[in-house]
């Protein structure tokens, strides 16, 4: 072994972590090599110094603050978002995979209000009151606060005011998914209505050919289509394969609605998506959301064991109560 090899071993030698034979070889070399001995001296001073690095205790309120954070992040809406897990796979950078799949998960982009109704409007008895869609990214708490304020501000027929029960709710949440798994949409504020009208925008995905090798232009358009930022490096055929994979997993919306005693009252194409209007018994809302949440089962094996996969997903949900 020459000096270069020895220097590679000096850290483990200094901490007595080498196998006995190797340890003896290094010790033998050191006897006759001043340069390596000098390096060993530096290594030992280095360990001496970092060994003096004291421990830093967490703040006294760490436990309480963490538990509060857990409760806060386990709110129903976040749990729904969390159910939509991000797949990863070998050969795809984690960030890119997360981002790409989060984009593909736009299969459940639920963005009705902005398409069906612009702005808030008064509700007459028997009519549907609609609130603005909250478009800007904000926290769930902030969204709730805004929506409650808006609901209160809508004058209804007969000068009644909506008070505690929201006639409509609308969420728009753009969040970093990271690896949050857990959650379901908030339905606690939907009260006293017989039916709810829910509009879903289910993104239609293009047919993909797994074996096709895409040109750069096709790749680019695919990225644009799936919403993956240009910075995300994702091969064309890989992207297609991914999209196909998720497409096959998309639950049949009709079946989901029927199973929850709902009816699809209308649908129309909008861009790449199909907008469904669904009438649903109020008491089925929770179950319906849970059915949607089954998309959470799409996570790749072992995905939950990993962390650090980051992607953005935008989810708009409007629940309209009739009165």
């Amino acid at each position: 072994m020459d000096c270069r090899d020895i220097m590679e071993l000096l850290h483990d030698f200094a901490r007595k972590r080498l196998e006995p034979t190797l340890h003896r070889q290094v010790a033998e070399h050191l006897k006759n090599c001043p340069a390596c001995r000098e390096e060993l001296r530096r290594v030992r001073r280095y360990y001496d110094a970092i060994g003096r690095e004291g421990a830093v205790p967490p703040p006294p309120d760490f436990l309480d603050a963490t538990m509060n954070r857990i409760r806060r992040k386990s709110s129903p809406l976040r749990r729904l978002l969390g159910m939509i897990a991000l797949p990863t796979g070998p050969g795809i950078p984690l960030g890119a995979a997360g981002l790409a799949v989060a984009s593909v998960i736009a299969v459940f982009l639920i963005r009705p209000a902005v398409l069906f109704h612009e702005g808030s409007r008064p509700a007459a008895p028997g009519q549907v009151a609609v609130l603005d869609t909250v478009k800007e990214p904000m926290s769930v708490h902030r969204i709730r606060r805004v929506l409650r304020t808006r609901a209160d501000s809508i004058p209804s027929a007969g000068q009644e005011r909506a008070t505690d029960s929201l006639l409509a709710k609308s969420y728009s949440l753009r969040t970093q998914m990271k690896d949050e798994v857990g959650a379901t949409a908030n339905d606690e504020a939907v009260t006293a209505q017989d039916t709810m009208e829910i509009a879903l925008n289910v993104l239609t995905l293009p047919a993909g050919d797994e074996s096709a090798v895409r040109s750069r232009d096709e790749e680019k358009s695919l990225r644009e289509f799936s919403g993956v930022p240009p910075s995300a490096v994702l091969g064309g055929s890989t992207a297609t394969r991914r999209i196909e994979h998720w497409k096959q997993k998309i639950p049949d919306i009709g079946a989901v609605v029927t199973s929850q005693q709902g009816t699809i009252t209308g649908s129309r194409q909008s861009g790449n998506g199909t907008i469904y209007q669904i009438l649903l018994p109020r008491e089925q809302y929770g179950a319906f959301i849970r059915e949607l949440g089954k998309i959470g089962n799409l996570k790749s094996p072992g995905a939950a064991d990993r962390t650090g996969k980051v992607g953005a997903i935008e989810l708009n949900l409007t629940i309209q109560g009739t009165r």
Binding site: E8, H11, R15, R42, R45, Y46, Y47, D48, A49, I50, R52, E53, G54, A55, V56, P57, P58, P59, F62, L63, A65, T66, M67, R69, I70, K73, S74, G82, K178, D179, E180, V181, G182, A304, D305, R306, T307, G308, V310
Partner: protein, 183 residues
């Protein structure tokens, strides 16, 4: 405790936090180099542990699993736009809040001159460490400060043992260059 949690007793989680918060916080502090960032990452680590604990299959040790989550949380934070664009003014080495635990008084500390020199040396090392790229810094922290075996570091960081060794070697060369004259 873990099995109990997995069987539905979530009330046990605070106990689990108490048992691991010191090592998690310390690791986050070493990686992030800032008390508030460490606090944020350590809390986030436990949020993730809470959410994913039901998936823990006992294939690796629980400590390794926690380390993996903490390291990835810190990595995410380091690579976040917010972190990158924030002007960091607090050095890894500084302890403005006076939060560092008092160290044992050793015999070498009795001489103020020696003590000062050692302190300077420690500061130089921590500063050099902080200047390393995030991933290399994490490897150095796990190996040299946390004293984790190569195999476990590989598991925590999701890379092969050979890769860990070669990157560690690279990190140490960089560190050595930056500490030239200081040690």
């Amino acid at each position: 405790m873990i099995r109990e949690f997995q069987q539905g007793n979530v009330d046990i989680f605070p106990l689990l936090i108490q048992r691991h918060m010191q090592i998690v916080f310390n690791l986050c502090h070493r990686i992030m180099g800032d008390y508030d960032d460490a606090n944020d990452c350590a809390q986030e680590t436990f949020v993730k542990i809470y959410r994913h604990l039901h998936t823990f299959k006992f294939r690796s040790s629980f400590d390794t699993w926690i380390y993996r989550i903490a390291v990835n949380t810190c990595r995410n934070s380091i690579s976040s736009r917010h972190f990158k664009f924030r002007k960091k003014t607090v050095s890894l080495d500084n302890d403005p809040e006076g939060t560092r635990l008092p160290r044992q008084v050793g015999d070498r500390r009795s001489d103020p001159q020696v003590q000062m020199e050692r302190e300077e040396e420690r500061k130089a090392i921590m500063e050099a460490l902080r200047s390393l790229p995030g991933d290399l810094r994490i490897l150095i922290i796990l190996r040299d400060m946390e004293e984790r075996p190569y195999e476990e570091i590989a598991d925590i960081c999701g890379m092969k043992t050979g890769t860990v060794k070669s990157r560690l070697s690279r990190a140490r060369h960089m560190l050595r260059d930056r500490l030239r004259g200081a040690l």
